[in-house]
Symmetry: C3
Subunit: 390 residues, 3 copies
């Protein structure tokens, strides 16, 4: 099935992906299917994620943290996929206290769990209500619990209970209304990052509007201008609010698509490194979502960075053809396999899926993707199925 | 008035900007004009800047730091614009101890203060003395106190008492002489970053020259070669000396301008993250300088990074057309709204100001731009006035 | 002599460089040749490198570290080039406890020592064994001691006792076999980064193959596909294993070279910031290797980043023309003097050496290149000799 990214049709790749996940699981026949009996103390250690440590202040050591001792006492069943891992410090790396079999088992366990089920799915395509030709999106910001990996619950501030918030896709020239209700305990605001709205719709408190106070509802309305991969996110106390999840994709489809941007699968990948650890679309490996395509198909990936760090995203096995930056066509497409995505940037690439297999797809800052406990964080896969493959 | 960047004429945008600042202040009519009565303890907290913490060593906790307890006791009048803010750690973000009204008032106070007056202005266009056709720039390096935000004084090592040092603009083919006097307590040296000078003028101690010792004067002389946006800065103990302020813009205007680089306003924006916190042209928000243009005008921004971190600079409302990298024309101009500027890089962009309003312009690594106390650091605005607007 | 990068001929620039190093030493006639008598306590301080601190966890202070007190007691002769330097914190920078003469002497000592001799040389071109038309590379991964600077020994996990591992250069279409023996105490795996191999040769444990356990040997084989500057490195426990040295260049020469990529000298520069500190090809300044060319020659530099941080590499005096990204030709070459190289990226540039002299070539994140003790880490030089110069 050719999936075009027509926002009216709603046949976005991610929708189709869901039905293919189970099938994909059967591909990894080479994996040992025997039950794992990991009882070594090292395995049972629940680790704080790198991101937490990175963001932590120098005086972190004085803050109460999750006790390792407690985790050691936990039954294994309560920590089925704690792949946060410790920062591979020189000391840890050199000492190598973990037995190699134990380490391999931890790594295998992570891979076998992928794609792991978690509660909640972010970045879901949102269907607007249409009144008198205006596409109306009702967005509520509120505090929730969010599962980034199986069993790992974090506090999130979310739009419509999703992290990232619902994916908004409109067409160039559409009249768009965003009705934002603030159910947080502090004021907020919505900025349309990259969207060239009139100044009074720009969403910067005390510059273009008053903040939206707790309990208040505020309405934005504009005609969708410059097409491309954009974002919407809080612009009030933003380091905290965006870091906790008030962000989402805002895509404006062009009236006429260029030939080069037509793709069978249109996939949004929001990279983040805020309070929820290293995530892709709000989840850390093995709870990340694979992209599933067939040989011969093309995948468009819309990278968006809502974090505080730059992430060079690396695809195995096939190259990416970069077509757009921040929604603007590059003068000429260019190829790479590792694409540096900085906070606030959006990069659109096309991958021609000409080689079957499960291809790792991850941030190449290795401590964002793998620890001694296995892969975690910013890792997913592009799964390319053969023509006749189930 | 059309301001061309002709170095002979001296009509650089920043000069004109000064006269428009006051007028711009009147635009923000939507701001509440009532006096603020912030007495909550949270407001009175004087915070160390993020940058200080980032640069701090692991053993920072053992160093004497400004006591929060002391600050709490300080009268509000002594901390009129302490917007340095604390790093939005997970703990701080999640806990949210600040009352929403208090937070909003702090945010508003910062915006209302913009552009705040501080002592000293860096990056001022320097007029050379001309002798026998040679443009002579006399530069003295010495230690000063520098006000980065209202009331925030830091130690700076400065050229001619400015941070950044005076802006040097010459024309391709000009004979240029730089007479550098070292009034610091340690040796120094000047490197012309990006300028293709002969090797003996390259300014690297013990490789191309001896260091300039305290009390000594050293003379550089060369014919201005490759045009473009370049820099001059210390190349001796440089992590410290540049971090403390020994840096400036060195611009070589081409003999013949390309059509695309002609702009009504020519603005240099030096981003930094050294010992002075996150700054634009040596100041942190709200003491940063807005860029002021009229609808229909074009602004050329020359981004230069003299810091230790990469800063993705984001402009609201309008896109930037990237024309030059390190002073060299890109093969074809390309558009973006978020431009990644790495240490040592210079990027020239053109903004066509087609939309009136006050447009936020900031680093999109959010902890460099906003805290729970409001915007700070690497934030300014592009103010686009309507045709008839005062 | 024109050195072409023909892998069959083996006349890679680095080979020739070795013979020129001694000659280059005589160029720095301006340096004082008097013996240095540095006895000040400050000089005798052996410093931990920045990289160690950067990678260190917040609780580093609790780990046993090399005692400064011990170092102070060491005779000077045991620490001839400890240029690791302390992070120039605000406190350190502002206080300036070092006497200027002492600081200058330390800086001079580092420059005079360049290029310093150390045991071991990484990135050496490897000659394959050829059987039935297959180029066979036998690679053994094992733990060694590695000298990054004179007297600074670190634990390394290395391919064939080199950091970076031996440079593999094949030609597009070659049949290539890599026989990997694991003599480490934990499992490993080899991924061919950027090389579009079939999925079962991609080197990701539990996805494309089982891990290579301690004592095991594993064979990869494929036909060299997409030409360009690629890499090979561990993809198992990779943050640790790559950080400790399991990495190398994997270059595929095209069947037909483009005119623009022909160069007299073909130089691979692998930048790193792992457990070994800030290094270029496994060494920190002054033990880094200069690139030596003659006026009129062209140098191709193949930047590869195997670290965890982005490094903007800056060349003095002459610009770089960027031709390839990740082995793929850019749509049009473009010029710069500071090139941002992110983890996993490869960038190929051409430098036309039209200006004689010793040109500094370093990362422009200054704390990666210079401390109060002088230059260290990611610093080398491009030495351009005049036509008749010895």
């Amino acid at each position: 099935m050719l999936m075009d990214s027509d926002p009216e049709a709603g046949s976005i790749g991610s929708t189709d992906t869901a039905t293919l996940l189970k099938q994909a699981g059967t591909r990894r026949a080479f994996l040992r299917s025997s039950a794992m009996t990991l009882v070594a103390a090292g395995v049972a250690t629940a680790c704080k994620s790198d991101a937490t440590k990175t963001a932590a202040r120098a005086d972190t050591a004085q803050l109460p943290v999750q006790s390792t001792a407690t985790s050691l006492a936990s039954p294994v069943s309560q920590i089925p996929a704690e792949h946060g891992g410790t920062m591979p410090t020189p000391a840890a790396g050199a000492v190598g206290v973990t037995r190699p079999e134990t380490m391999d088992e931890m790594h295998e366990r992570g891979v076998k769990a992928f794609p792991a089920q978690t509660a909640g799915k972010g970045n879901q395509l949102m269907t607007p209500r249409i009144e008198k030709g205006v596409k109306i999106y009702e967005i509520t910001a509120r505090k929730i619990q969010w599962e980034t990996e199986p069993g790992k619950l974090v506090e999130a501030w979310a739009y419509n209970d999703q992290v990232p918030g619902p994916q908004i896709r409109v067409r160039e020239g559409d009249r768009v209304r965003l009705v934002v209700k603030n159910e947080l305990a502090e004021s907020t605001c919505v900025h349309f990052h990259g969207v060239e709205v009139p100044n009074d719709q720009d969403g910067v408190p005390f510059i273009t509007q008053p903040p939206i106070k707790p309990g208040e509802t505020y309405t934005y309305e504009f005609t969708a201008p410059n097409p491309g991969s954009h974002m919407y996110h809080s612009h009030h106390n933003a380091a905290t609010q965006v870091g906790l999840g008030l962000l989402g994709a805002f895509i404006i489809e062009p009236k006429v698509k260029r030939a080069i941007e037509r793709a069978d699968i249109d996939y949004v990948m929001i990279v983040n490194d805020g309070m929820h650890g290293y995530t892709l679309n709000g989840k850390g490996f093995p709870a990340t979502e694979p992209i599933i395509a067939r040989v011969g198909q093309t995948v468009r990936v819309r990278f968006m960075n809502e974090g505080m760090m730059i992430h060079p995203m690396h695809l195995h096995g096939m190259h990416m053809t970069v077509i757009d930056k921040d929604g603007w066509a590059q003068p000429a497409p260019w190829k790479c396999d590792t694409l540096n995505v900085a906070p606030g940037e959006r990069w659109d690439v096309i991958v021609k899926c000409d080689k079957p297999g499960v291809w790792a797809f991850h941030c190449h800052i290795l401590p964002h993707a793998e620890s001694q406990h296995g892969m975690f964080g910013m890792v997913t896969a592009l799964i390319v199925k053969k023509a006749g493959e189930a």
